[in-house]
């Protein structure tokens, strides 16, 4: 069955450093991969989508890579701030036409000042 693994449940870093979160998937060949942010007591919020033919995608301080050979996506937050503290979820999907997402468990990032 499809399996999605996100690295360590918790990641603690100092303000200003780069946070790197990992998403690995098995028994799956997604055409897209999305990253969401979830704050306590709130629903997930979409951050970035990357397609299988894109190696890298950037948005402000965020960068996502997608390696279909390694079956892995990396999510980077540069110059991290305490406000970046949240749980980050990855969600591969096979197509863009309204397919429901399969989420990983998420990685909780804590940025200390």
């Amino acid at each position: 069955s499809q399996k999605i693994e996100q690295n360590s449940e918790a990641l603690n870093i100092q303000e200003g450093k780069t946070a790197t979160l990992t998403c690995n998937y098995t028994n799956y060949s997604p055409a897209y991969l999305q990253w969401y942010r979830q704050d306590p007591g709130r629903g997930p919020v979409f951050l970035l989508l990357i397609r299988e033919n894109e190696k890298e995608k950037r948005k402000e301080r965020l960068k996502v890579t997608f390696d279909t050979t390694l079956k892995q996506s990396l999510f980077h937050i540069t110059a991290s701030q305490p406000a970046d503290s949240a749980t980050y979820l990855c969600a591969p999907s096979r197509d863009q036409a309204g397919t429901a997402l399969i989420f990983g468990k998420g990685t909780t990032l804590s940025v200390s000042s």
């Binding site: 999605i4 449940e9 897209y32 999305q34 007591g41 709130r42 629903g43 997930p44 919020v45 979409f46 989508l49 397609r51 979820l89 969600a91 999907s93 863009q96 036409a97 309204g98 397919t99 429901a100 997402l101 399969i102 989420f103 990983g104 468990k105 998420g106």
Partner: protein
């Protein structure tokens, strides 16, 4: 634009009781999803609607869960009877297929259900 609305935000019930959750998606979004999120886990799809038709309900425990989306807009998810393991946050999301933009999903705040 207004976001996805859900109610109630919190619900506490005894096991074997019934409960219903309501969702109003973003205007114009044809696709609506109900996800269950157990503490420490990612959201898991329960059911997906396209307009008022069911696209995927393979993970919906149909002996106790039911959902409907009348007129292709609002949706209701019901649990009857509830079990202790149903304690979770129930998230509603909607999306609109926009060609090459991918299916970004917009989530509501969720309903936190506690079954005692």
């Amino acid at each position: 634009e207004a976001g996805v609305a859900q109610s109630p935000r919190y619900k506490i019930i005894e096991k074997r009781q019934s409960v219903a959750f309501w969702c109003n998606p973003i205007s114009g979004h044809a696709t609506l999803y109900w996800y269950q999120q157990i503490l420490g886990q990612g959201p898991k799809l329960l059911i997906q609607f396209q307009n008022n038709g069911v696209v995927d309900d393979s993970q919906l425990p149909k002996d106790r869960f039911s959902a409907e989306r009348l007129k292709g807009v609002d949706s209701t998810l019901k649990i009857q009877p509830a079990k202790l393991e149903d304690s979770a946050v129930y998230l509603c999301a909607s999306s609109s297929y926009r060609g090459t933009s991918g299916n970004e999903q917009f989530f509501g705040p969720g309903t936190r259900l506690t079954v005692l």
